[in-house]
Each structure stands twice: as C-alpha cells, then as structure tokens.
C-alpha cells in the first residue's frame, strides 16, 4: 500500500470514529446544559464559589461572569509565572519575565496557547500542571458556555435570560472535559506518553555520556490540550515530541480528540433548538470545508513542491517518520481549522501552498469545525450573515431558526466578523512597517512576511500555532500578540452574548412558504460560499503577498 492510500484510509477511519460518537456525545452535551439536576460535587463547587446555579442571567450578567472569571485567570497565571522562582515543585526554574508572563497568561486564558517560551526549559511542574493545564480546561469550558448561551438565545423566546454562567462553566468542566480527558490521558500513557512528577531525568546514552529530559504530567495535559482545542505543548516540539505523541495511533487519536467536541456541538445545537436537521446542515458545512482543505493539503504535501523538498524527494522537513506526510497533513488542517494550534509537524517547512492552507484555515475564523464552543458560535454568526445575503436577494426580512434577523442582529454579527481580521491585518502591517519587529523573521522574502501574518492571524483567531521561525519572544511580539489574543477572544464574545440576549427576547415567527429552509443542502451550499467569499475578500491581498507568492514561485 502506498502512503497516499494509507493516508486516505486514516481519514476514513477518523471520520468513522467521529461519526460513531457524534450522536451520543452531542446528546450528552445537550443533556449537560439542559438538565436541572446538580451533581453532588457540583454543589460543593457552587458552595465554594458562592453562586446560585439556578439563577438565570440576562446577557450583560453572563458577560460579566465570563470577563471576571477570565480576568482573574489572567492575573493568577501571570503571578504564578512571576513567582515560579520561589514556588516549590518547580525544578528550581527561575521566574518568567514580565512580557512573556503576560503573553503566556493571556494566551492560555484565551484558549489560544500561543507559546513564545520553550516549555521544557521554562515551565516547572506547578506552572504547567496547576496553571497552564487548568486554563486548558476552563478556557474550553468558557468557550462552550458562550456557545450554549447563544444556542439558548435561538431556542428561547420572550425572555432575556440565557442561562447561568457559573453553572455552564462548572458543568462543562466536570461532566464533559474532566472525565473524557482522564480516559484519553490513560490511553495516551498506555501508548508511551509520559506521566510522572519525578523532575529532570538523567539517563545514559548508547554512545556514552548522558542526556537530560523533563519528566512531568505530560499525558494528562496532552489529553485536555487536544480535547479542549488548546494546543499548548508541554515540550517545545509540541505533538511532534515523542513523549507527547509517541505512536501513529496516538497521532490519529489526538486528531480525533481535537475534532470531537467541535463537531459534536452541532448535534447539541440541533437538539437544543428542537431540530437535529438544523444541526446536520451546520455539520455538513463544517465537514465540507474540513474535508476539502484536508484533500488539498494532502495533494500539495505529497506533491512536495519547493526546491529543498524536491531535492530531498519528499516533504519530510519538520515531519516525523512515524506520522508520515498523511498523518501530518490531517493534523495540520485539523489543528488550524479548530482553534487548537497544537502541531505534530512544523508548518513553516510545509510546501508554500501547504503553509498557505494552514493560514487560510485560521482566517476562515476557525469555524470548520472551530474551537470548543467558539467554532459553533462563529459558524452561527456566519449562518446569520448567509441568511441575510439570501434575504437581500429575494427582498424579505431574513429569519433563522424562527427568529427575525433585523438591523440589530446584523449589526452585531457584522462587527463580530470584522474584529479578528482587523486585529490580524493591522497588527501584521504595523509589525512590517516598524523598524525593529521585522528582525524577528527567520526566513527571507515572502515566507518571512508569512511568518508575521501567521503570528497575528493565529493570535487574533486564538489558534496558537506558528510559523515558528519567527522569534516571538521580544517585547513587541509578546505584547502585541498578547493584545491580539485578548481582543480576539473577548470582543467577539461581547457581540455573541448581546446577540444571544437579543434573540432570546424575540417571539418566534412561524415558518411560511417563503422562509429559507436552513436545514436543506441549498443552505449548506450558500453558507460554504458565504464563508469562502467573505474570507477571500478580506484576506486575499495579504495572502497574495505571502504564501501565494511563495507557492507560485516554486
């Protein structure tokens, strides 16, 4: 069997596994967020928080909860890194400098996991396990909570209430993320991922001498890093490191973990709005884009254009033998089309077009299937834009899921889709225009520009992967990518929650013969088209200067 055939079979197996879990997992999540029963451990947690989980919140209160919890999270993680030097259980590692601590704290709270540090030499056990990994859980839970709030906006009517933030946060963590991450972590250890607290290992080598490597709670962090679409590696090489991703099977399993929640949330959405077919239409949109991009990526990586790769005879630079070109291509597309940003191979050394696909994947706004929660709310905003475009064509007020899409809804959605491109493009342009920031580029020419564009696209979209040649550990990049992550995460959430509140207040309009049937393939086609066209129009000039210029030259 050739590597191409094997790659296609891996893809088929992955789709099969996701399909098997889609209904039970999606239904489980719908029950989690609809149930009025509290688990005993949850009651203890609510007591600890001092919150009543049964109080319904209007959108401003819900938003205040999100912001307060995240602000505290940033401060806590910042302080933890700043005092690492005196924390016990930190291997004697020194404290992290202020700019990098800020960047890292923001990065993990915003579910981005951009890393301007080298994990193995910078972060001790305490910061990794009780700081970074905690945000891997709760930032994912916050994302799902906001998505569920928006879904409630569609599902409810004549109320401004969209749920209780503390209840959604705790339930997402306790009933979804922790149990499934624990199972996944044990599977990873069984395959060779490490899990210990025994500090730095010094072991002999075959040719004599010794080598030192970090021990740590790697498997437990790896599991939630993928399941929560976070992406921050314990080691610098991320999921390319054999201790994080030891075998071909763990590779496929980690891709499965990345995609599980974002795809299954469309089922949760369908169940909660009372029409699973609406969920299927969204799923079909996500699936079409994901599959199309994966096919393109495999084609370009197997074709290995570019002088160095042609000379080598294959696109193996930055890729591991055990994963091969196929396993690396599927991972690369899945990590950038979600907000994960974990990497099992280094995107900067992909073919020009392959690197462009990872960049474009993030530019789509990470909605196919997107991050935990952020993917669902992102694509629902695009669905609103799509019904609006359709409404303009036939000249009637658009509706979606029985709610009228009026001026207010369109304004909120339009601002939402402008935020991240504005952040990515303005910050990238500023970095190119100023005298010092371009010095951080590793590669010359178009690829160097791609590194900068990639950094800010990744930060503003809360992805976290990198064209890692860029030296991002400078005050400029630590600060500016930090701001891009912060605004790119929380400004969109403001508009999503405002939209949720506005939708929840409406009374439903009955469907008529003139209503656009949003559960039909026609709508899926319209939605895919709207997503591609809007992204294309926004980013084409920037893409032309970077990956397209590089890809066409080789």
């Amino acid at each position: 069997m050739g590597p191409e055939t094997a790659a296609v079979l891996q893809l088929v197996a992955l789709i099969g596994a996701l399909a098997l879990c889609y209904i039970p997992f999606g239904n489980h999540m719908a029950r989690v967020y609809s149930s009025d029963k509290h688990w005993r451990v949850e009651k203890w947690i609510y007591k600890g928080i001092g919150a009543n989980p049964d109080t319904e919140m209007r959108w401003p209160a819900y938003l205040r909860g999100v912001l307060a919890f995240s602000l505290v999270g940033v401060l806590f993680l910042y302080v933890l890194q700043r005092i690492q030097g005196i924390l016990p259980g930190s291997l004697g590692f020194s404290s992290v400098n202020p700019a990098q601590s800020f960047n890292t704290a923001v990065s993990f709270v915003t579910n981005t996991n951009w890393q301007s540090y080298y994990g193995e030499q910078t972060m001790g056990h305490v910061v990794q396990t009780a700081g970074l990994a905690v945000q891997n859980f709760v930032s994912a839970a916050v994302g799902i909570a906001v998505a569920v709030a928006l879904v409630r906006g569609f599902a409810r009517s004549r109320t401004g209430e969209i749920g209780n933030f503390w209840a959604d946060l705790v339930r997402g963590t306790v009933r979804i993320l922790v149990p499934f991450a624990a199972i996944a972590a044990v599977i990873l250890v069984a395959c060779g991922a490490i899990q210990n607290f025994s500090g730095i290992h010094e072991v002999g080598q075959f040719m004599g001498g010794s080598q030192q490597w970090n021990g740590g709670a790697v498997a437990s962090q790896e599991a939630i890093k993928e399941l929560g679409t976070n992406g921050g590696g314990y080691f610098n090489a991320n999921s390319a490191h054999p201790f994080e991703n030891p075998t071909p099977f763990t590779n496929l399993f980690e891709i499965f973990l990345i995609l599980l929640i974002p795809f299954a949330l469309t089922r949760t959405f369908g169940v909660m709005v009372g029409s699973v077919r609406q969920g299927y239409a969204i799923l079909a949109t996500m699936g079409t884009i994901w599959l199309g991009f994966t096919a393109l990526m495999m084609w370009t990586e197997f074709a290995h254009h570019g002088p160095a790769l042609q000379l080598a005879g294959g696109a193996y630079e930055g890729k591991e033998v055990r994963f091969g070109v196929g396993g690396s291509s599927i991972f690369a597309v899945s990590t950038t089309l979600t907000s994960t940003g974990a990497v099992n191979s280094f995107h900067s050394s992909f073919t020009g077009l392959g690197g462009g696909i990872t960049l474009l994947s993030m530019m789509l706004g990470e909605i196919a299937p997107g991050g935990t929660g952020s993917g669902l709310y992102g694509i629902l905003i695009m669905a609103i834009i799509a019904v609006f475009i359709a409404g303009l064509m036939v000249g009637r007020t658009p509706e979606y899921l029985g709610k009228k899409i009026g001026a207010r809804e369109i304004k909120l959605s339009a601002i939402y889709i402008l935020i991240t491109p504005a952040l990515a493009l303005v910050f990238a342009a500023a970095s190119m225009a100023l005298p010092t920031p371009p010095h951080s580029m590793l590669n010359p020419g178009a690829h160097g520009f791609s590194e900068v564009l990639y950094a800010f696209t990744s930060a503003a979209n809360n992805n976290g992967s990198a064209f890692a040649g860029l030296n991002a550990n400078t005050d400029w990049y630590n600060t500016m990518t930090g701001l891009a992550m912060l605004f790119g995460r929380f400004l969109p959430m403001v508009f999503v929650l405002a939209l949720a509140g506005s939708l929840a207040e409406q009374k439903p309009v009955p469907a008529t013969a003139g209503t656009l049937r949003t559960e039909k393939p026609l709508f899926t086609g319209l939605l895919v088209g709207a997503i591609i066209i809007i992204t294309g129009l926004t980013y084409f000039p920037a893409l032309a200067l970077g990956p397209l210029a590089e890809g066409l030259a080789s």
């Binding site: 939630i224 054999p242 160095a308 040649g469």
Partner: protein, 222 residues
C-alpha cells in the same frame, strides 16, 4: 458609583473562588489521579520507556539519539560513527539557554521554508554525506536512492525512527564496518521494521536505538 465598585469586587471575588476550586479539580485531583493510574498500570511507559543494553540504561526507545564519534580537536561537528545505524538529521535540536543548571534537550524543528537557501544547502550536504558514507566496495549508492527522511530534519529533532528504505541503504556499510554478512544485517533490519499500525495508520519505520542495541548484541555474539 460606590455600589458598582462593590458589585465588581464581589464578582471578581466569585471569579477567584471559582478559579481556585476548579484549579483543585483540574490542576490537582485530575493530574494526580491520572498519574496514579499511569504509574500503577504502565510504570515503564509513564516514566519514559527507558531501554537497557548490557544492564545499563542507554536512553528511551522514544527519543532519538546521535551516533557520533567524540569531537576531535578543532572540529565543529563530530563525525558519524559509521559502524552504527544513523538516525535522521536534527538541525532544529537545541540545548537550553535558561535554567542552565540543567543540560536539557530542547526539542524543535528548523522551521526553514522549502525555498530557503540554508535548507537547500542542508539537504544537499546531507545527501552527499549519505551517498559517500554508504557507498562501500561492491555497493554504490546513487543520489536518487536516498529517501527523504535521511536528508531532512524531523519536527521534534528527536525522531527515534527512520524509514525502512533508509535502514536498508545503510545495511552494506554497517555489515562491512562490523565484519558481518549483509544477510545478517538485512535480517536484523527486517526484524526491527514496524509496519503501519493495523496496516494503514502512520508509516513503516525502524527504531534506530533498538536496532543498534540488537546490532551490538549480534557483534558480540559472533
């Protein structure tokens, strides 16, 4: 005004308490439970899959090593120890620049673009070296025979594996340097070749450290 300050403070206090409680659940209980299960059920794997030869730990079966001769005086890069199988280039691998009380391996890739002159040169040099090192009397390697993994750096810089094609390319050289027959070394490579998982997941591979340990045993036995 006063009221809104109080409300904000109350909200932040709730946020902090939520964070602390959830840190206890996800940052203390969760990793400890997973570690407990891992250490009990998969002790060796959870501690890095260490591998021994002659009763001594010689590394991890998951972490690639270099098989070089000691640096000679005035040398920048050491010569390869050609009696052993060679792994992949690791031009992105580094050592730690902070917390230097340790000598840590810093995993990483080159991140060089496919059209970068530095990378083109690295591939060219690696190819020349592979051809030269592996051409022995009676067996000439042509540049087109050299597989891609032999001349490119991996993502981690710690790739423990090489492709079966690269292992086979080294058979004649290794046999000659160790005074073994080609058939013996070929069999060794075959025995240490792992196919795709379930026939289709990943790529076939040869673990270099395990192969070299077996080779060492073979040379001692003969």
């Amino acid at each position: 005004m006063n009221n809104s300050v109080t409300n904000t403070a109350r909200l932040l206090w709730a946020g902090l308490r939520a964070l602390l409680v959830l840190t206890l659940v996800t940052g203390v209980v969760y990793p400890l439970v997973v570690t407990g299960i891992a250490q009990a059920a998969f002790h060796s794997k959870a501690n890095g899959s260490e591998i021994t030869s002659d009763g001594k730990v010689v590394g991890s079966s998951l972490i690639g090593q270099s098989y070089n001769l000691p640096l000679k005086k005035g040398q920048q890069t050491p010569d390869a120890a050609l009696q052993w199988f060679q792994g992949r280039p690791a031009n992105g691998l580094g050592s730690n620049s902070i917390n230097t009380q340790y000598k840590l391996i810093l995993s990483g890739a080159t991140n060089l673009a496919a059209d970068n002159k530095v990378l083109i040169q690295q591939v060219k040099d690696a190819k020349t070296a592979v051809v030269k090192d592996n051409s022995v009397p009676g067996y000439t390697v042509s540049p087109s025979q050299v597989p891609a993994d032999a001349v490119t750096s991996s993502g981690s810089g710690l790739d423990p594996d090489i492709s079966p094609a690269y292992a086979e390319l080294q058979v004649h050289r290794v046999a000659e340097k160790n005074n073994l027959s080609v058939a013996q070394v070929e069999k060794l490579v075959k025995d240490h070749t792992t196919g795709r998982t379930l026939g289709f997941i990943g790529e076939p591979r040869v673990n270099v450290l395990e192969l070299n340990i077996a080779l060492k045993d073979l040379t001692k036995g003969s």
